[in-house]
Symmetry: C2
Subunit: 119 residues, 2 copies
């Protein structure tokens, strides 16, 4: 029952590609993540994937489609089942929304798979 | 399959208390709304209610609890079933997320009830 200041939450950690949950809405986790460099190609067969850029610039590569490039104040929802790979040349901060239990690496798994950590 | 620039969407309308849907994530609507003044006390028995302030300042009055005051970059999720009433002294822009079919006025109804309009 407390408000969430996104900048304050983002100042509390440094790890890249490691989403931190800051709030819950029904069965969804609201998370912030810091990215720099390329993530991993993956998809989520059961859910859309919400991205809102807070700082920096995020390029979301989409399999077979043009990239989507997001600046602060821009959002994109990757449709379920569409393979995608986020990439950021500079450190970029993003608000993510997905159902609880959705792994950040989707079907790909691997070393970038993060635990669902709340801060 | 297009990105959403929130400022551009917000520049496309003037109406207050009239959420405009800008994206869809699974069964949820992502909307922007302009508010100024007091909304109406209401609750949503079936869903939490997500608010992220983009511009201005939003005071969310909560029945029996202290107000939550949100500045830009701050979010709050009103728990399902909790009566609340947003109020803004200046024009305030907010990102809202709720399931499709959730009326903006919840159980209260009345003249401020808005259609689900996508822009």
């Amino acid at each position: 029952m407390e408000k969430v200041n996104l900048a304050a939450k983002l100042s509390a950690f440094d790890a890249l590609f490691s989403p931190k949950i800051v709030a819950r809405m029904n069965e969804y986790k609201i998370a912030v993540v810091k990215t720099k460099g390329e993530f991993v190609w993956h998809k989520h067969d059961d859910t859309d994937d919400f991205f809102l850029v807070l700082k920096g610039r995020l390029r979301i590569q989409l399999r077979g489609l043009p990239d989507v490039v997001l600046d602060p104040g821009e959002l994109f929802v990757v449709p379920k089942g569409l393979e995608h790979c986020p990439r950021a040349d500079e450190e970029t901060h993003v608000l993510l929304i997905e159902p609880y239990g959705t792994p950040n690496t989707g079907n790909a798994g691997g070393p970038l798979t993060a635990a669902e950590e709340t801060i």
